[in-house]
């Protein structure tokens, strides 16, 4: 965003990284609504800017750290599975909304997958904003009806003797999948483990087990 915060008085145009493209109709509407609400003092001027910073601070790297901690610390894992939100807050992740968090543990017997068929509920405080495919019709329509076919499109094959469990978020609870720790990582540090954890594994569309992955 362009800034013009130096105080010397000479009339030059503001320095910007690149010229802003002409805003479209909806962008103009967004600016107009926001400015009117600020003018009416219904929103504080800095609140949107602060919330943008909060949104920017949430990425899958945060969720990955939670997962790695759960892998190395059995007591933390137990607290995380008992109350996902409380354990994340203890870990320093604030929840900026009223949602609860249930952490779903993948095991030898169960593979979890999360979806929101009605809209785009997602564990935003821990993973950031969802990818577009998560919000689009194919995933939302099919994940609850043919989860194994959807998983196959992500290159994931779950054996028949493993239960596929689909959680459809509709209200105040959000879900985070705790993937199985990959084999051969006994010598890894917590930081190294966190670097192995991906967003898609925490949604449950992939595993971190190479044997269950194929090229889609």
């Amino acid at each position: 965003m362009p800034h013009h915060d130096h105080d010397h008085a000479h009339p030059h145009p503001p320095i910007v990284n690149k010229p802003d493209p002409v805003p479209g109709y909806y962008e103009i509407m967004e600016t107009a609504v926001r400015e009117l609400l600020v003018e009416k003092q219904l929103l504080g001027a800095g609140e949107i800017r602060r919330q943008i910073e909060v949104l920017d601070s949430r990425t899958p790297a945060l969720g990955a750290k939670v997962v790695a901690r759960a892998w190395v610390d059995p007591d933390f894992r137990a607290r995380l599975l008992a109350d996902g939100r409380a354990a994340c807050e203890e870990f320093g992740i604030s929840f900026y909304d009223d949602t609860r968090l249930i952490v779903l543990e993948n095991t030898e017997r169960v593979h979890n997958l999360i979806v929101c068929t009605l809209c785009s509920c997602y564990p935003r405080p821990v993973l950031g904003l969802p990818p577009d495919w998560y919000k689009a019709k194919p995933y939302r329509a099919r994940a609850v009806k043919e989860p194994r076919a959807v998983l196959a499109e992500f290159g994931t094959t779950i054996p028949d003797d493993v239960e596929v469990r689909v959680s459809d978020s509709t209200a105040m609870v959000r879900y985070l999948v705790l993937p199985q720790r990959p084999a051969g990582t006994d010598g890894c540090t917590e930081e190294q483990l966190a670097s192995l954890v991906t967003r898609d594994a925490m949604i449950g569309v992939i595993t971190l087990n190479p044997e269950r992955e194929t090229v889609p």
Partner: protein, 116 residues
């Protein structure tokens, strides 16, 4: 269930189990205005000016054509405007005039004011 009845009973976003295409792993980096729109949604909810559930209900009320043709954040900002009119927080005329001001300012190549 007849056709017109079903239009009212089945919300356009209630799509669990409907036939759909293969999942393509699409994504995009949010435009600055889209991120501002998301932050606006959160702040409107914090103040309960428009709660999250009202936003969802408002999106459903746009109907299937608009849901299909508008992008995700286009739907959100359209809904915020409509709900703010319904609540008497803004008037349609006021927003139209403000949009003209914003458009004229942008056309004059003034830097956009972000939350100043």
């Amino acid at each position: 269930m007849n056709q017109s009845e079903n239009l009212l009973k089945l919300l356009p976003n209630d799509i669990g189990g409907l036939p759909a295409d293969r999942v393509e792993r699409i994504d995009h980096l949010l435009e600055p205005w889209e991120k501002r729109c998301h932050a606006l949604a959160d702040v409107l909810d914090f103040h309960k000016i428009i709660n999250t559930e009202e936003k969802r209900r408002g999106v459903e009320a746009l109907g299937s054509e608009m849901i299909g043709k508008l992008s995700y954040y286009e739907r959100w900002i359209a809904v915020f405007a409509i709900i703010l009119f319904q609540k008497g927080v803004l008037t349609p005329d006021e927003l139209a005039r403000k949009m003209d001001v914003v458009a004229a300012r942008s056309a004059a190549n003034e830097p956009e004011k972000v939350c100043q």
